[in-house]
C-alpha cells in the first residue's frame, strides 16, 4: 500500500515525532510512505503530469530519512493553511488558472482527487486542526481512504480530549508567567500575558489554573474592563509582593466590543489576531494609573521541542493511525476519550471547534478558572 502523510495549519511541537512513528510503523509492515509537502498545498500545487512538480511537492519517507527528525520541533514536511476546497484565484497554481470566474474562492477538490490517483496513493493520513481536517472529511466524503490525526495548540478539535501541541504550549506559558513575576513584582505592576487562542480560551484558562495567576480572560466570555481593573487592584493589594498577573486569549473581547483583528483576512477567513492584550494593558494603565507589563507570548508557545506528553501522544496517535490504515479502517479520527486511546468517525470535525465549557470551568463573575468536581473529568478537564 502507498500511504500519504501531510501536516497542515500552524506548526506545533510533536509533529516530527508523529511523522517518524507513522513512517516506521508503516514501512515495518512493507508499505510505502509518501510525505506530502506544505499540507494540502503540496497536492493542490502538484502537477501530476510534470515529474519535476511531483518531486517538489512530495518526498519518499523511509526509516533512514526520518531517523533524526523527531529530535526537533516544527514539521519536517512544512505546512500551510491551504484548503483546496476554497482557493483564492491569486493562490491557484499556474496550470490550474482559468480566465474569468471572479474573485470568489474556488473548489479544486477534483484536481486533488486526480493527483491522489496519479500518485497512486491508497490512503492519506493528514495531521492538522479543524480546518485541515475539514478538507480530510471532504476527501472522505469523496471516497478517499483517510485516517486523521488531531493537532492544535488550542486543543479545540471536537471528538478528542487532546490534540498534539497543547501540553507544550501550556508548559511554555506557565514557565514564561513565572519568569515575568520577578519583573512584575520588582516594579509592582499589573502584568498582562496574551496567549494564542482564537476561539478557544483553553490555553488561557489552563495556563492560569496551573500557574496560579490572579485572573484569566478567555475568548468565550466578553469582559468588563472596569471590573477587571477593580479585581486586579484588589489582587495587587492582597499580594505581599504587590503585583497582579492575568492571562488573556488573543481572541478575547471587551463587553460591547468586537474581536480585535490585526492584519488582513486570509482566504480561509482567518485573521492574524493579536492586540487585545496591548489594548487591555493600555486601558488598565488609564483606569488604574498603574505600570503595566504587557507580554504577548505568540509563537514562543509553539516553537521548539515538544515536552514528553506531546511526544507520547504524537507517537501513540501515529501508531494508532498507521494500524487503522494497515487494517483497512478508514474515515476515522484518532483520539483520546476519557483517558483512553481510541478512534471516532472523522465526521465529528463537522461540529466546528471545541470551546471551553464555561459553566463547568470558568467563574464568569470573577474572571478566573473555577475547577471543581474534577472526579470523572478527562485528564485535560473537558
Amino acid at each position: 500500500m502507498r500511504v500519504g502523510i501531510l501536516t497542515g495549519g500552524g506548526d506545533v511541537p510533536g509533529l516530527n515525532a508523529c511523522i517518524k512513528a507513522v513512517t516506521m510503523r508503516a514501512s515495518g509492515e512493507g508499505h510505502i510512505v509518501i510525505g506530502i509537502r506544505r499540507g494540502w498545498a503540496g497536492i493542490l500545487e502538484c502537477n501530476p503530469d510534470d515529474p519535476e512538480s511531483i518531486k517538489e511537492n512530495t518526498i519518499p519517507l523511509n526509516p533512514s530519512v526520518v531517523r533524526t527528525i523527531d529530535r526537533t520541533g516544527g514539521t519536517f514536511l512544512h505546512t500551510s493553511r491551504t484548503n483546496p476546497a476554497r482557493v483564492r484565484p491569486q493562490d491557484e497554481p499556474p496550470f490550474l488558472r482559468t480566465e474569468g470566474g471572479g474573485d470568489e474562492p474556488r473548489d479544486h477538490t477534483d484536481h486533488v482527487l486526480r493527483v491522489i490517483d496519479k500518485l497512486g496513493i491508497d490512503a492519506i493520513i493528514p495531521i492538522g486542526g479543524d480546518d485541515t481536517l475539514s478538507f480530510a472529511l471532504r476527501l472522505h466524503d469523496e471516497g478517499v481512504p483517510v485516517v486523521a490525526i488531531p493537532k492544535t495548540m488550542d486543543n479545540d478539535v471536537h471528538g478528542t480530549d487532546y490534540c498534539i501541541g497543547f501540553s507544550t504550549a501550556v508548559t511554555r506559558t506557565v514557565n514564561f508567567i513565572h519568569q515575568l513575576r520577578t519583573s512584575a513584582g520588582s516594579h509592582e505592576r499589573l502584568a498582562v500575558v496574551e496567549v494564542f487562542g482564537r476561539y478557544s480560551g483553553e490555553t488561557s484558562l489552563v495556563s492560569a489554573y496551573l500557574a496560579g495567576v490572579d485572573r484569566a480572560i478567555i475568548s468565550e466570555v466578553p469582559f468588563d474592563i472596569e471590573k477587571l481593573a477593580r479585581l486586579l487592584m484588589e489582587d495587587k493589594a492582597a499580594n505581599p509582593s504587590k503585583y497582579a498577573m492575568m492571562t488573556i486569549s488573543e481572541g478575547a473581547t471587551m463587553t460591547g466590543g468586537e474581536m480585535v483583528m490585526g492584519g488582513t483576512e486570509d482566504a480561509y477567513g482567518h485573521r492574524k489576531l493579536g492586540g487585545i492584550g496591548a489594548i487591555t494593558g493600555e486601558a488598565l494603565r488609564e483606569i488604574t494609573g498603574q505600570g503595566i507589563v504587557y507580554q504577548q507570548l505568540g509563537y514562543l508557545m509553539r516553537s521548539g521541542n515538544p515536552d514528553s506528553l506531546d511526544l507520547m501522544v504524537a507517537i501513540n496517535y501515529a501508531v494508532m493511525a498507521a494500524d487503522l490504515v494497515i487494517g483497512g479502517e478508514f474515515g476515522r479520527l484518532v483520539a483520546l476519550r476519557n483517558g483512553n486511546y481510541t478512534n471516532v468517525p472523522i465526521a465529528v470535525v463537522r461540529q466546528g471547534v471545541k470551546r471551553v465549557d464555561v459553566g463547568a470551568l470558568y467563574d464568569v463573575e470573577n474572571y478566573r478558572p473555577k475547577i471543581r468536581h474534577v472526579d470523572g473529568k478527562p485528564m485535560f478537564l473537558y
Binding site: G10, P13, H78, T182, H187, V293, G298
Partner: protein, 342 residues
C-alpha cells in the same frame, strides 16, 4: 558602627538579588557593618523608606530574578531635589550608599557625588550599554533568553517558509540583538548603530531564497533606526519623563517586508521575558564580583566611583565618566555580518 544604604533602580534584571546578597554578606557578615535597603530605588531614599538587611534576610535569593528591594525609575533631580536625599542620609545616619542601576540611576548618582554625597555605583542593564564596563548585570541572561527564543523560532520559521522578525531590547545600543543574533544564527541583525535599509533587507531575503533557503530570521533591536528617509518609524509614546517607550518596530517592518518580498512575515516581541526569571551563572558571578568590589570601595572610602569589568579584571572608574552610552563596535558587527550573506 559603619552604616550604609543600598538601592536598586531602573528596570529590574536577573542578578540584582545576587548583588544585594554579596553586599550584605561582605558588609554585615564580614565587616560587621549595618546595611539598610531602600525600597523602590531613589523613591525609597526620598521617602526614607528602608529596612535593615541582615544576613538571614538575603538567604535563598541568589538564584532569584527581580530585586527584593523593588525598583523604580524615580530620579531625585526630577522629583524634589537632592536636599531630601541629604536629609535621609543624615536622619538615618548612613555614611554612604551603593546604587545598583543603569544609565538613569547612575547618572543621578554621578550628580550627587559631584554635590558631595557619598555614593558608589554598580552597573546593571540588560541593554549592556554603559561606558565604564565591558558588561553589566543582567545582560548575559537576556542574551541567553533571546538565543533560546531564536533557536525555538527556527522550527516555526522552517515549517511555514516564513520571515520571522524577533524584536529584542536595546534602546540606544544593539548588544542583545547582536549577541543573540550571533549565537542564534540570525540571517540579519538590525541595531541602532547601523541604520538599516529596507531595500537591502528585501534583497538579502530574496538572495537567500534563490540559494534554496525557505526562511529567514531577522533579529531587530527595539531602538533600530532606518537609513534616513527610507522608512517611516513608528511614533513611540513617551513615558512620564519624556523618554520614548520603545517597542513595536518589528510590527511596522513586517508588513512592509511581506509586501515587498512576498514572504509571509511574522513577529515575536520578546519584551519582559528577557529580564524576568532566574539569572544565568555568568550574571550571578558578575553581580557577586562587582558587589564585593563596590563594598571594598566603601571600605576604602573611595566614593564617587563605579565598579566595572575590563577583560578579566574588576576596575573602578569615576561615576561621571561611567554612565555614558557604550555602543556596539563596528568590528563586532562585522563578525555577525559574515553570516548574513554566506
Amino acid at each position: 558602627m559603619k552604616r550604609i544604604g543600598v538601592l536598586t533602580g531602573g528596570g529590574d534584571c536577573p542578578g540584582l538579588n545576587a548583588a544585594i546578597r554579596a553586599i550584605v554578606r561582605t558588609a554585615v557578615g564580614l565587616h560587621g557593618w549595618e546595611v539598610l535597603g531602600f525600597r523602590d530605588g531613589w523613591r525609597g531614599v526620598m521617602r526614607g523608606d528602608v529596612r535593615e538587611l541582615t544576613v538571614e534576610s538575603v538567604q535563598g535569593i541568589l538564584h532569584r530574578g527581580g530585586t527584593i528591594l523593588g525598583s523604580s525609575g524615580a530620579n531625585p533631580y526630577h522629583e524634589g531635589g537632592i536636599e531630601r536625599v541629604r536629609t535621609t542620609f543624615r536622619d538615618l545616619g548612613i555614611e554612604g550608599l551603593i546604587a545598583i542601576g543603569g544609565e538613569g540611576t547612575l547618572g543621578a548618582a554621578a550628580h550627587m557625588s559631584e554635590e558631595g554625597l557619598a555614593v558608589v555605583g554598580v552597573p546593571k542593564t540588560i541593554d549592556n550599554d554603559l561606558s565604564g564596563t565591558d558588561s553589566c548585570i543582567g545582560y548575559h541572561t537576556a542574551v541567553q533568553v533571546a538565543t533560546d527564543a531564536i533557536d525555538r523560532l527556527h522550527t516555526t520559521a522552517e515549517s511555514h517558509n516564513r520571515l520571522m522578525l524577533v524584536e529584542v531590547m536595546g534602546r540606544s545600543a544593539g548588544w542583545i540583538a547582536l549577541a543573540a543574533g550571533l549565537a542564534g544564527g540570525a540571517d540579519m541583525i538590525l541595531i541602532p548603530e547601523r541604520p538599516f535599509d529596507v531595500d537591502e533587507i528585501c534583497a538579502h531575503v530574496r538572495r537567500r531564497h534563490l540559494r534554496g533557503h525557505s526562511f529567514s530570521i531577522v533579529v531587530v533591536a527595539e531602538g533600530a533606526v532606518p537609513v534616513e528617509g527610507t522608512f517611516e518609524l513608528p511614533e513611540y509614546p513617551t513615558d512620564e519623563r519624556g523618554f520614548p517607550r520603545f517597542g513595536g518596530i518589528a510590527h511596522h517592518l513586517a508588513p512592509v517586508l511581506e509586501q515587498r518580498t512576498g514572504f509571509e512575515s511574522r513577529v515575536t516581541v520578546l519584551g519582559h521575558v528577557q529580564r524576568g526569571g532566574a539569572p544565568c551563572a555568568e550574571d550571578r558571578i558578575l553581580a557577586t564580583r562587582l558587589a564585593i568590589a563596590a563594598t571594598d570601595l566603601v571600605e576604602a572610602g573611595r566614593w564617587g566611583q563605579m565598579v566595572g569589568v575590563r577583560g578579566p579584571d574588576i576596575v573602578d572608574v569615576p561615576l561621571g565618566e561611567a554612565a555614558r552610552i557604550r555602543r556596539v563596535p563596528e568590528e563586532l558587527y562585522r563578525v555577525a555580518e559574515v553570516f548574513f550573506d554566506t
